[in-house]
C-alpha cells in the first residue's frame, strides 16, 4: 500500500505578494514616516567591515589570526571610522522621541530595535516592511527605562552573529546615574519614583562566533526571488549550513576570551567599592545556551527592558535574587539587569559557559571578575 503523503500545500490564493515579500523584501528610503518632533537624534551606518585581531592562543577554523566582522558605525564619530564591536551604545531617556538616521555603505540592511515597540515601518524587519537602501530615518519613542539591543534583521542568522549589533539603554527620568527598580532593600531606593542610584554601571554582552560563518557573504544561502512562484521547490537553496552553529571563538562585550585566562579588560571586568550599587546589564548576544555563575548575590531588577514590580505594567512581577555561585541560564537576546552591592572587599568571579543549543556540549568557558575594594 502506498504511504500517505501530507502535502505542504500551495501559496494561498491572494497571498502571492505576501509570500514574495517574505523571501525578497522591497527596498525603501527616506522617513521618518508620520513624523513626530524628535527630542533626540542619532546616526548609524551599516555595514563597516573590520578584522578583529585575535589574542594569542585563539585562531579561526583555518588558523587565521583575525576574524572578519560586519559592524554598525557612528558616522559622526571620527575615531576608527566610528565602528566598534559591539556598536556604540545608544542612550536615551524614558519619554524621548528618537530619530536614528540610518545609512548604508552598500547592499541593504535594516535595524531592529529589539524590545522597543514601534510601528512596523520602524521595526526594522524586511519582510513586514522593507530593507533600507540609501538612507532611512527610523522613529520611535522610548517609553520604558531599561536594557535593549539594536541589530540588523536581514538574513539575521548571519548578520546578527557577524557583529551587527549594539546596546541600547533607556534611562529613567532621574538620569543615567539611576535605574528604574522596585527594590526596597537597595541602598538609596526611592519608593515614590521607583528608582535606585547607580554608582558603577557595567555591560556583559557574551556572544560567540563560528569562524567558518565569517567567510560568508551577505546573502549567503538565501532563497531565490521568483515572483511567479515565491515558494517553488526550485527557489530553495539546499547547500547551506546556517542550521549548524559550532562556535570556536567566544567573547564578552567584544573582548575575545582566551581559554583559561579571565578577561581583565576594563570594558568587561568591574571595579567598585564596598557598599556601592553596581548595575550590570547582562545581554545574551549569541546562539548558545549560556550558563552564568557569579560570586556575588545578584538582584534581578529588570528583564528585557521592563523593570520588575514597577507600576502599573509590572505590578504582577517583583525583583528576585540569584544567590552567589548559583548557576543560571539565558538564551539568545534575553536581558537581565543585575543589581549588585557587596559589603565585603574581594575579587568575585563571573563565569559564562557556552553550551550547544541542542546537545548541551560546552564549547568554551569565559571568565571575568568583579573587584570590590
Amino acid at each position: 500500500m502506498a504511504i500517505t503523503v501530507i502535502p505542504r500545500g500551495d501559496v494561498p490564493l491572494g497571498q502571492e505578494h505576501e509570500f514574495f515579500k517574505f523571501v525578497c523584501p522591497p527596498t525603501f528610503g527616506g522617513g521618518p514616516v508620520d513624523a513626530q518632533p524628535a527630542t533626540i537624534k542619532f546616526a548609524r551606518k551599516l555595514d563597516v567591515m573590520a578584522d578583529l585581531p585575535l589574542p594569542a592562543g585563539v585562531k579561526t577554523y583555518n588558523g587565521g589570526n583575525s576574524l572578519r566582522l560586519w559592524l554598525i558605525a557612528d558616522p559622526n564619530d571620527s575615531s576608527s571610522n566610528g565602528a566598534t564591536f559591539p556598536a556604540k551604545t545608544i542612550r536615551t531617556k524614558k519619554g524621548d522621541v528618537v530619530w536614528v538616521d540610518t545609512g548604508f555603505s552598500f547592499n541593504t540592511h535594516t535595524i531592529h530595535w529589539h524590545g522597543i515597540e514601534p510601528t512596523p515601518m520602524n521595526d526594522g524587519v524586511g519582510h513586514t516592511s522593507f530593507e533600507v537602501s540609501g538612507n532611512f530615518t527610523y522613529q520611535f519613542a522610548t517609553n520604558t527605562a531599561g536594557t535593549y539591543i539594536y541589530h540588523c534583521h536581514k538574513n539575521t542568522v548571519l548578520h546578527f552573529i557577524m557583529g551587527l549589533y549594539g546596546l541600547f539603554v533607556v534611562d529613567p527620568p532621574q538620569g543615567p546615574k539611576f535605574a528604574a527598580a522596585n527594590a526596597p532593600g537597595a541602598f538609596g531606593f526611592d519608593p515614590v519614583n521607583f528608582s535606585v542610584p547607580i554608582d558603577v554601571e557595567a555591560a556583559w554582552v557574551p556572544g560567540e562566533f563560528d569562524s567558518i560563518w565569517n567567510d560568508l557573504g551577505h546573502n549567503a544561502f538565501m532563497q531565490k526571488c521568483d515572483q511567479n512562484d515565491p515558494a517553488g521547490a526550485g527557489t530553495f537553496t539546499q547547500n547551506g549550513f546556517l542550521n549548524r552553529f559550532r562556535p570556536d571563538i567566544v567573547h564578552i562585550t567584544g573582548v575575545v576570551s582566551v581559554p583559561g585566562n579571565p578577561i581583565t579588560d576594563p570594558r568587561v571586568s568591574v571595579a567598585a567599592k564596598t557598599n556601592q550599587n553596581i548595575l550590570v546589564r547582562l545581554v545574551h548576544a549569541g546562539y548558545t545556551v549560556q550558563e552564568y555563575t557569579l560570586g556575588l548575590d545578584a538582584t534581578v531588577i529588570g528583564e528585557d527592558g521592563h523593570p520588575l514590580g514597577v507600576p502599573p505594567f509590572d505590578k504582577y512581577s517583583f525583583p528576585f535574587v540569584i544567590p552567589a555561585n548559583t548557576p543560571f541560564r539565558l538564551t539568545s537576546a534575553r536581558r537581565y539587569d543585575l543589581l549588585l552591592n557587596s559589603p565585603n572587599a574581594g575579587v568575585f568571579p563571573f563565569q559564562v559557559k557556552f553550551m550547544d543549543w541542542i546537545n548541551g556540549t560546552v564549547y568554551q568557558t569565559a571568565q571575568t571578575t568583579v573587584t570590590v575594594v
Binding site: T4, E117, P120, D123, Q238, N243, R244, E303, N359
Partner: protein, 390 residues
C-alpha cells in the same frame, strides 16, 4: 480579517486577487471536543512535505473516530478536555515497532503497545480523568527521545471549569490580578481575555526535523537514543507543523485581532533544541511554565522554551507602546501615511513577527532565511475596533 483581503496593488507578473469576507477559524486544528470524550487514535507512518517540498518520513499519530478532522498529522491531533472529564482513548498500533502514549508531567499513559504483527494484541484502551487545567505535551515515551522526535507527539489541553483565567481556581494571585485588570484598567484598554470558545487562544508546538534520522527509520534501521541526542542536526524548525511564510498568516497560529484583544498562547517544545521565542510589538506575560502557574509574572519580550517544556503566555495586544504621539489619538489618525503605504503589500493591517532568536531556527534546509520557526502578530484595527484602512 486577512491581509489577503487588502492585496490590491499588483506586482509585475503577478495577478492580484481579492478574496471575500471574514473567515472565522475553528478553535484548533483537530479537536476532540465532541459530545463524548471517547475516541480512537492510531500509530501510523506518512511522508510529510517540508517547506521546500522535501518529503520526510515520519511516525505519526492519526486521529480516527471521534475527531472533527481525521487522519495522520504532524503534530498529532490536539486533544481538548475540561478538568475532571472522563476520557477514553482506543489506541491501535499499525506500525512494525512497539509504541506508546504518555502525557508529560502526569502519570497518564499506556504501557508498551505491541506492533502490528501481534494483532489483535496491538490495541490498548486508556481511560483517565483530565488533569488540572494547563498545557500538556503528549508523546510516545519509548526509546526516548527517538519516538517523539520522529513525529509522535501532540498537545493536550485541560480547560478550567470556570473563572476568567486559563487555570480556574488553580491560579496565583498575580495571574488572577493580571486577568482581572485586562480590559478594566488604564494600562489594558479594550477587552478582557475571552476564554474558549472565543478565538483568543493559540497553540504553538515547536519541533525540529533532522531528515537523516527519519530516513534511517524509513529504512527500518534501529536508532540509538544516545546517537540521536548527540548527533541531531535539524534542517527544519516547525511551529505547529508549519514553517516560514506558510506559518505566518494562518488561522490558529498567527495572532490576529484589534488592539485590546488579549490572546493566550500555549507553547510546547517536542524537540531537542532550546528555543528563544521573541515577540515584536508587545512584551508578553509568562503565566505558567511546565504546569506551574507563576507567582512572579514576568513581562518580557524573549523567553526560553527548552525540550519538553510547556509555557503559557498572555499577549496583551496593547497598542505597540513606543509609537510616538498622543495615546488618545487612534492609530488610523496618528500614522495615516504608514497605513496607506504599499510595499508589495499594503502596510495595513500592522504586521509583526514572532520568531525564535536562536536564529539557526530561522532557516530551512540550511538557509532560506526566514523560512523557519516564525509566525506573525497582526493588528487589524484600533482599540475601538474600527478597522485599519483597506
Amino acid at each position: 480579517m486577512k491581509r489577503r483581503d487588502f492585496v490590491k496593488v499588483g506586482l509585475a507578473g503577478m495577478s492580484a486577487v481579492v478574496v471575500g469576507s471574514m473567515e472565522i477559524p475553528p478553535l484548533f486544528r483537530c479537536v476532540a471536543r465532541a459530545a463524548n470524550l471517547a475516541f480512537d487514535m492510531s500509530f501510523t507512518e506518512a511522508l510529510v512535505e517540508m517547506i521546500d517540498k522535501t518529503q520526510v518520513y515520519h511516525w505519526l499519530f492519526s486521529a480516527d473516530a471521534g475527531f472533527a478532522t481525521t487522519g495522520p498529522s504532524l503534530p498529532g491531533p490536539t486533544i481538548i478536555a475540561t478538568y475532571g472529564d472522563k476520557i477514553t482513548i482506543n489506541f491501535t498500533n499499525n506500525l512494525p515497532q512497539p509504541h506508546g502514549f504518555r502525557i508529560v508531567g502526569t502519570s497518564i499513559g499506556t504501557g508498551v503497545i505491541p506492533n502490528v504483527n501481534k494483532a489483535p494484541a496491538n490495541k490498548f484502551t486508556l481511560t483517565f480523568t483530565a488533569p488540572p487545567p494547563g498545557t500538556y505535551l503528549y508523546i510516545d515515551p519509548f526509546y526516548e527521545p527517538v519516538n517523539r522526535i520522529l513525529g509522535l507527539h501532540g498537545a493536550f489541553i485541560s480547560l478550567p471549569k470556570g473563572g476568567n483565567t486559563p487555570y480556574g481556581g488553580k491560579t496565583t494571585p498575580n495571574v488572577q490580578q493580571l486577568f482581572n485588570d485586562l480590559g478594566s484598567t488604564p494600562q489594558f484598554p479594550g477587552d478582557p481575555w475571552l476564554p474558549p470558545p472565543a478565538n483568543r487562544s493559540l497553540i504553538w508546538l515547536f519541533h525540529q526535523v533532522d531528515p537523516w534520522f527519519n530516513a534511517r527509520a524509513q529504512a527500518g534501521i534501529f536508532i540509538n537514543p544516545d546517537t540521536l541526542k548527540a548527533k541531531f542536526l535539524p534542517r527544519y524548525f516547525l511551529i505547529s507543523g508549519k514553517t516560514g511564510a506558510f506559518a505566518s498568516d494562518v488561522p490558529n497560529i498567527s495572532i490576529v485581532g484589534n488592539i485590546g484583544e488579549p490572546h493566550l498562547i500555549r507553547i510546547l517544545n517536542a524537540g531537542l533544541a532550546n528555543h528563544s521565542p521573541h515577540l515584536h510589538a508587545n512584551h508578553f506575560y509568562v503565566l505558567s511554565k511546565n504546569l506551574v502557574v507563576q507567582n512572579n509574572v514576568l513581562n518580557i519580550d524573549t523567553f526560553t522554551v527548552g525540550p519538553l517544556d510547556t509555557v503559557d503566555w498572555l499577549v496583551p495586544m496593547i497598542r505597540p507602546p513606543d509609537i510616538p504621539g498622543l495615546k488618545s489619538t487612534p492609530l488610523r489618525q496618528l500614522i495615516p501615511h504608514e497605513l496607506t503605504t504599499v510595499l508589495y503589500t499594503l502596510q495595513s493591517p500592522l504586521m509583526y513577527p514572532m520568531h525564535c532568536h536562536m536564529e539557526m531556527s530561522q532557516t530551512a534546509a540550511g538557509g532560506n532565511y526566514p523560512q523557519g520557526l516564525i509566525t506573525h502578530m497582526i493588528f487589524t484595527g484600533d482599540v475601538d475596533k474600527v478597522p485599519f484602512p483597506v
